[in-house]
Symmetry: C2
Subunit: 233 residues, 2 copies
């Protein structure tokens, strides 16, 4: 049972070591910091202390700085020289523009889906709509929220290219800088899912114009619900 012939064998970190062969510390730091930001663990507007983050992740400041620099390009943080990096806080106007852009991308994706749907498009979307319906009836807001994300991700995955998907995802992360987990109300869930069904119906009917219109209307509806709940003016 004793292992001979390898006296100075490094301690076996099977998973971690294999992980570090593929991903650098910078990438895991970026992923973790991004998670902390979009999840709201680090609130918008707050400062990013480099050595605190480094200590938290058990690494040096170098990779942390590189990770933060990447997030800066992505638009999640802003940096002031000799002062530090802050989690970006976006204004209501900027949030509205993000909704517009998401509506644009979603509309385009749905238009293409209606014109030339890939195999298994309708069953997949239909299944998600059904599950959302069940979640709405059960007043399962978190479940509905997750399924909603899946539905929109599926729309772009099926109807748009990889670059458009990346932009859409980035916009979503940016949007999280404003709204801390949109509170979903029961009637809003049903309203929202009815729009989902409309999108699906247009796609199923092969009507690109209607699909685009339904998708844009749905995202704009989300924008309206967002505006009504967050900016009472």
């Amino acid at each position: 049972m004793l292992r001979a012939m390898s006296p100075d064998q490094p301690p076996d970190l099977p998973a971690e070591l294999l992980l570090l062969r593929t991903r650098s510390l910078t990438s895991v730091a970026a992923q973790e910091i991004e998670r902390l930001i979009v999840s709201g663990a680090i609130p918008a507007g707050s400062r990013l202390n480099e050595q605190a983050l480094a200590a938290r992740l058990g690494i040096s400041r170098g990779p942390v700085r590189e990770a933060v620099r990447g997030l800066e390009r992505q638009g999640l943080v802003v940096t002031v020289v000799n002062q530090g990096s802050y989690v970006r806080s976006i204004s209501a106007e900027e949030a509205l523009e993000l909704y517009d852009l998401r509506a644009l991308l979603t509309g385009q994706a749905c238009e293409r889906l209606a014109a030339a749907p890939p195999p298994a498009t309708v069953p997949r979307l239909s299944g998600l709509v059904t599950r959302m319906e069940r979640a709405a009836e059960a007043d399962d807001a978190p479940g509905y929220y997750a399924l909603n994300l899946d539905f929109h991700a599926a729309l772009l995955e099926l109807g748009a290219g990889p670059r458009a998907q990346r932009i859409y995802d980035d916009l979503g992360k940016e949007l999280n800088l404003f709204r801390r987990r949109a509170l979903v109300q029961p009637e809003k869930m049903r309203e929202s899912n009815a729009e989902h069904a409309a999108i699906l119906a247009a796609i199923h009917a092969g009507d690109p114009v209607a699909a685009r219109a339904a998708a844009e209307a749905h995202v704009q509806g989300g924008k309206r619900r967002f505006a009504a709940s967050h900016t009472p003016l």
Copy 2:
């Protein structure tokens, strides 16, 4: 003439010092490396040698690494662990998607411009079209190219929000990874500018649908010209 009372006054670097007060070495490195990439000085697919870049810029490897991380998030470079960063080379399919996204954004901007044009929209665009017409008649391809960029930038500046402009710019930089300065032919210039005029006419007429259609057709025309010249299949 002798300067008293300030024996250890630092050497006067009026511009550079003021510059470094505002911009860190990382930012200037990022700007310079990005310039080298989009200008084609560093061809797509080639490796980015960190210490060579650092030596070229007269700085250390730290800021260079941070700058490269930013460009990685932006999509201009890809990094392989323990191997280095490479200037991203995009496929023809990816380039086509970039054209589609630019068409989408430009169409949206023009639709809004036609619906609610900001002050001085038509004169500004009209002036650019006129100058492009002169450049086309003079067979001034570089001049036309620059004016064309100005025209499209003006469309987005006037008709879209700041986030959309940023996305559009990023897509343009990414597109430069494929085509090395699209060679503009005389007849293509006139064809292109006729489409510019059509966009302007639709905006002037206040017809959002026509404006969007004209803009999308124009960018898609550029995509078609690009596809015809680059992928002879």
